[in-house]
């Protein structure tokens, strides 16, 4: 019953928060209670055990469960220590809707259910308004829905061998379109509210979606694992280079953060594409970093970005070190694992990734400065995000064990 509760309770919390919008305190309490109960259902769920209470087989994989817990923790952190300008009830409304969708994506027993959940999330987010047009907001996720559906048809139909390869292309392209990495980058308006911007797709829903799509891909096209991996590594390297260069050179601070997510996703795609234990471990650590550290830091940088108050205090340099993947942060452990995995597979790949890692330094310094001079809740939040990242970097094994690795 836990997977059903993991989907249902956050969804109820989100609806409660939306209905009680006129009474923010009641909305906050109701959403927090249901959100915590949903998170408890995720924590208490047995990974890999299928529940069939609603006529649909639902099961959480260990990796997805671990990232759901991380996403829940990140949401709790950002709600408790939300910047003064952000209304917590609204943050909870959208966060819990995303969490319910992520739980549904993670638990979906078939690719079709996963696709339908992505479609629902896309329509809900697009209909919420925002500075981008309705069609623009829908474009990336709907393209993902179509590509994943076509991939499923190609994988399931009888026919020549190349149909399976088309399926592999469709799955990688669909995943890339949903997350918003190259070549399907979502249009980004720096002034848009975070909940209605493409950030939730790349930093909140994306990690669970990627793991779920790849799990389904392994079942649908077991013979095309090599092609799938090669495509992901190729796309990953492209995103590493483009994401870092754009994050460094773009004039807009919020856009620089957006590109930095793309760069991190480049490494994640490389790790997942390696299809060996070290690569998977590296990818999971990087995804923890995106959800638990990079996303909260982005949220706390927005006020400072609006006020154009960059700063060079030690906290800014620490944040830059974390964003760059320096020791002892989680990114360092992930990079070591990734290089070791790439060396096992094909050493020139390790060389290419190693050269790509150098590109993280200039944009990370810039992003660290963009946090300004943190005060109050923002300072506490940044401190907690950095501390969590250090703990994961120093003691990665418990976090990897949580993900079944």
């Amino acid at each position: 019953m836990e997977p059903e509760l993991a989907v249902g309770l956050p969804a109820i919390g989100s609806v409660c928060a939306a209905v009680l919008r006129a009474r923010p305190r009641a909305a906050l309490v109701a959403a927090a209670v249901f959100g915590l109960l949903g998170l408890a259902a995720v924590v208490l769920s047995s990974p890999g055990v299928t529940s069939n209470q609603l006529g649909i087989g639902l099961s959480l994989s260990p990796e997805s469960r671990a990232l759901l817990i991380a996403a829940g923790a990140a949401m709790a952190l950002t709600v408790v220590l939300a910047p003064l300008a952000v209304e917590r009830a609204i943050l909870l409304t959208w966060g819990l809707a995303g969490l319910a969708g992520m739980a549904a994506i993670a638990a979906a027993g078939s690719l079709e259910i996963l696709i339908l959940v992505v479609l629902v999330l896309a329509v809900l987010q697009a209909s919420a308004g925002g500075s981008r047009s309705f069609a623009t907001r829908l474009r990336g996720p709907v393209l993902a829905v179509v590509l994943l559906s076509l991939a499923a048809v190609c994988a399931r139909a009888e026919g020549p061998v190349f149909l399976q390869r088309f399926a592999a292309v469709g799955l990688v392209a669909g995943l890339s379109a949903a997350v918003g990495t190259l070549p399907y980058m979502h249009d980004f308006d720096p002034n848009e509210r975070t909940a209605t911007s493409p950030i939730p797709w790349i930093a909140f829903i994306g990690p669970v979606l990627a793991l779920a799509v790849l799990a389904r891909a392994r079942e649908l096209i077991p013979s095309e694992g090599g092609d799938l991996g090669a495509m992901m590594i190729g796309l990953g390297l492209l995103n590493v280079v483009w994401g870092n260069l754009a994050s460094w050179r773009t004039e807009n601070g919020a856009a620089a953060w957006h590109y930095s997510f793309i760069a991190d996703w480049g490494l994640v795609l490389c790790g997942l594409g390696l299809a060996i234990a070290d690569g998977q471990r590296a990818a999971i650590l990087l995804l923890y970093g995106i959800v638990l550290s990079r996303l909260p830091l982005y949220l706390w940088s927005r006020q400072s970005l609006r006020e154009k108050r960059p700063n060079d205090r030690p906290i800014n340099l620490l944040a830059a070190a974390m964003l760059a993947g320096a020791a002892p942060f989680a990114g360092f452990a992930a990079r070591v694992l990734l290089l070791r995995g790439a060396t096992q597979l094909y050493w020139p790949l390790a060389l290419a990734i190693g050269l790509g890692l150098l590109l993280w330094l200039p944009p990370s310094l810039r992003l660290g400065r963009s946090l300004g001079l943190p005060r109050g809740r923002q300072a506490w939040g940044i401190g907690v995000a950095l501390a969590v990242n250090v703990v994961i970097g120093l003691y990665p094994q418990p976090f990897l064990a949580l993900a079944g690795l």
């Binding site: 078939s110 079709e112 399931r156 020549p160």
Partner: protein, 179 residues
């Protein structure tokens, strides 16, 4: 029966691409729904067919209640869309009958053509009523596409797709720039 149902679904999706008014869009959605329900029935999925009719029915009724009160089929400047509807249909027919093999060519044709046409409608500049209708049809086509496998997806996927299609059509979009 399955061949007729598949062509009905394609014509319905073509109407969604070619229409701007609420009546044209609703007729397109109704044809897609009936075509898909026929295909589900032919595959022995009675519960699935009922669910598709229910979900598609809600979408049709909702579409008849909002949007431009007209048929709006093939307004001036629709040549490219006519070519698109025919081209996607022919491509889907070729892929489903020649490239792919085995039983279930009708389902393959219907799924591929509706996926392609509704995607084109959503991804090109369109008014929200047309986009929402295309999204509802897209949701139904995701479930029908799962029937390409010999085993079929089971009623749960059809029911979920029907709920999604009906739910999408109930959402009100306030922004009409469609750019």
């Amino acid at each position: 029966m399955s061949t007729t149902a598949a062509f009905a679904a394609w014509i319905g999706a073509a109407l969604i691409v070619l229409s701007e008014g609420r009546r044209g869009l609703a007729l397109g959605m109704a044809l897609v729904t009936l075509g898909f329900a026929g295909l589900a029935l032919a595959a022995g999925q009675v519960e699935g067919a009922v669910a598709l009719v229910a979900g598609g029915g809600v979408a049709v009724v909702q579409r008849l209640r909002s949007g431009k009160d007209a048929w709006g089929v093939m307004p001036p400047g629709s040549t490219a869309r006519v070519v698109l509807a025919a081209g996607v249909g022919l491509l889907a027919l070729w892929i489903s009958t020649t490239v792919m093999s085995g039983p279930g060519a009708s389902i393959r044709f219907a799924a591929l053509s509706v996926l392609g046409l509704t995607a084109a409608r959503v991804l090109t500049p369109s008014d929200p009523p047309a986009v929402m209708t295309a999204l509802a049809a897209l949701a139904l086509s995701v479930a029908v596409a799962a029937g390409v496998a010999g085993t079929g997806p089971g009623p749960a996927v059809y029911v979920l797709a029907a709920i999604v299609a009906g739910g999408i059509s109930l959402i009100q979009v306030s922004e009409f720039d469609g750019a």
